[in-house]
Symmetry: C2
Subunit: 408 residues, 2 copies
């Protein structure tokens, strides 16, 4: 017997037929003797419609009222799932955020969970009642409904799992797990049985959009075993867990990529203290998120070149800003390029093994792919290359690190 | 300065444009120096969709979960109206049933309001903040969301008006007031300036479906002045108020009709005590609502005839039931007719004036209309006639009681 939190996203509860499918999965866990809490998203498209209403009501809408409006989507799903479960003979009831309560701060529209009152729902679960909880919502210190930001239902599920001491938090979605890379690019991509929290964080923020980043951070912090699996197929998914649970660590677990990149280079920047702050301060002030930053060693001791990347959609704004600040920032000229992509290899194994970066550079060189920018972190090496080489590079790396699945 | 509760129905908040129109009306009251609480319904069709989901989830749905699902419609409207009001510079916030709280019993899906906590909202109103309340919903003794039954938003508005001592409760709808009769039948029907609670109750239950019956009863009990008016036109509506507020009482205020009638006559029923109970007990047990009942005086002291009406849709069930009980009920034969309608003249004036019924019978006789059944109450006379005479009868009575508007 285990205590399990199951979370189902919008496409998994898109209509009554799918909600019935979800209920069947819940029933299977109950029949197996498990205690179950279920976290549900809004039926797909509902949240978009509700957000659209708010924007139509006023582009400057009050986040507190926005929360009242958009939280209703999850509320509806929770009631419907409880009804379907009951009709299958499974004792169940819905619990809204304010009823449990799921207490959050009062930063409306992007609240953070403070704590969850689990006494009552724990008692119910022990009695065999399924606890159905709308994701994404809570109640603020102002006793008003709050929401956790888009994708917040993952976070709701992990927080609930942590609070009620669940043995596992299963995140049901429309993919069946975490892959070594995008299977649309590499047909021999493999589904991973296990991956560490750290790796998942690097992969998630790099574009493998399966789990909300915040939910993975929270799972790591509270030691919640996550499983990502498909709500449409009946097979195990990928476990996201602690490093010590993974016996055979791969050197590299996965290869991520991001097309949402643009490169800016400032040439002839005076090489003296404070120059970085002068460039990146104004960019941050206008909410432009700078990612890779490379500053070359000054050759003449006078000026240097500064290269960095921004999200592609922000490139124009970044250029405009830097041009308007030319007086204060000081540089000779600016060049930019939006036909670039970032490729990253991720793996906790590289903490203890040298040569991971070298393998990457060799594999790319062999295919004649030029590396424009390199950055590294403890468990990740990222390179910026021309976009036209994206697929070629990923396939080469996937093979180079021995990630290809066996031919069937 | 007055304190006003304004209530807007589903068609008045059907989309953002109409919600903006509602907000403008609220703003007008605020600008005039009034303290305002607004009660809103779900956007039209939303409740039907949500009820449809519940029925699809399970025909035997749990009323507690049904309440969670369907109450979300009003929640959405309340948030959106608050946003629009704020965008017009009017301080406003939404208050859900559990936040105020609007405490009800725990009879889910048709809860009754027990009391409303008005301290906080009263303070806010005094400060000039508009209090936006979703109609139809409350919180039960079990701390779960309850709903008041269809049309319950009228009741929410009246209860709120009573609780916070409002000077007036304005019910905005898609008609501009209460008419002497259906203007689709009588083009010279007049809009009434005032009508008593009692008259409104008789008219409402007879088919003039403008206000939920329960809301009128509650207004009468708590002395809440109601106004029924149009949300699409800018003119006064009809006040529903105490009799003593109406200086010039009309003998007859209005003429109502119902097509939802079918007549059953049992011939040769033994004339002894308990026979009525024997007939109407089984009908009540199968939830068939019997309306008019007439028992003729027995001619021979042995048998009598019993005539009554039932809703047209229940006629077949009633016939089947009575046939199956022929042994126990005892009657010679049964005749029935579903081509009948009920016409009622309503007026508090008839309490003190004789001759109202006589005028009715004369007017109908003059047109050659045969009266099949007559029933009377303190402020109402109802007759059952053949359906083909419906319009003719209403027009004749409208003229006979001097209700026709002046030619313009």
């Amino acid at each position: 017997m285990a205590r399990i939190v199951m979370k189902f996203g919008g496409t998994s509860v898109a209509d009554l037929e799918r909600i019935r499918n979800v209920a069947q999965r819940v029933k299977n866990e109950v029949d197996a003797g498990n205690e179950v809490a279920v976290v549900v998203s809004a039926m797909s498209q509902v949240t978009n419609q509700l957000v659209g209403y708010c924007e139509e009501a006023s582009p400057m809408y009050d986040a507190r009222e926005y929360d009242v409006v958009v939280s209703s989507g999850e509320q509806v799903t929770s009631g419907l799932l409880a009804i379907v479960l009951q009709s299958m003979g499974v004792p169940a009831r819905s619990w809204q955020g304010w009823q449990i309560p799921i207490r959050t701060d009062s930063v409306h529209a992007k609240a953070r969970i403070a704590d969850i009152g689990t006494d009552e729902i724990s008692t119910r679960m022990k009695k065999g009642e399924v606890v159905v909880v709308p994701g994404f919502q809570g109640v603020g210190t102002d006793n008003r409904v709050t929401t956790l930001g888009r994708g917040g239902s993952d976070t709701s599920a992990v927080a609930l799992a942590a609070a009620c001491g669940a043995d596992r938090c299963d995140i049901y979605t429309d993919v069946d797990g975490i892959y070594t890379t995008d299977p649309r690019i590499v047909s021999r991509a493999r589904k991973l049985d296990k991956i560490t929290y750290e790796e998942m964080l690097e992969l998630a923020s790099l574009g493998a959009k399966v789990l909300q980043t915040r939910s993975v951070e929270m799972a790591m912090k509270h030691d919640v075993r996550l499983q990502v699996l498909s709500s449409f197929e009946d097979k195990p998914g990928t476990f996201v867990c602690n490093e010590d649970e993974i016996v055979e660590k791969e050197l590299v677990s996965g290869i991520a990529y991001s097309r949402d990149e643009a490169k800016v280079t400032l040439i002839g920047v005076p090489d003296h203290p404070g120059i970085s702050a002068g460039i990146f301060g104004p960019l941050a002030d206008t909410s432009i998120n700078v990612d890779m930053i490379v500053q070359n060693v000054s050759e003449d001791g006078q000026t240097t070149n500064m290269t960095f990347t921004v999200p592609r959609g922000d490139l124009k704004r970044a250029i405009k800003l830097l041009e308007s600040k030319k007086e204060s920032i000081v540089y000779e000229r600016m060049i930019f390029d939006s036909d670039v992509v970032k490729i990253s290899v991720v793996g906790v194994g590289m903490r203890t093994h040298a040569g991971v970066a070298a393998t990457m550079f060799e594999a790319l060189a062999e295919k004649g792919i030029n590396i424009q920018v390199i950055t590294t972190s403890e468990i990740k090496v990222s390179v910026l290359i021309a976009e036209e080489y994206l697929e070629l590079a990923i396939r080469a790396l996937h093979t180079a690190y021995g990630l290809d699945a066996d031919e069937e």
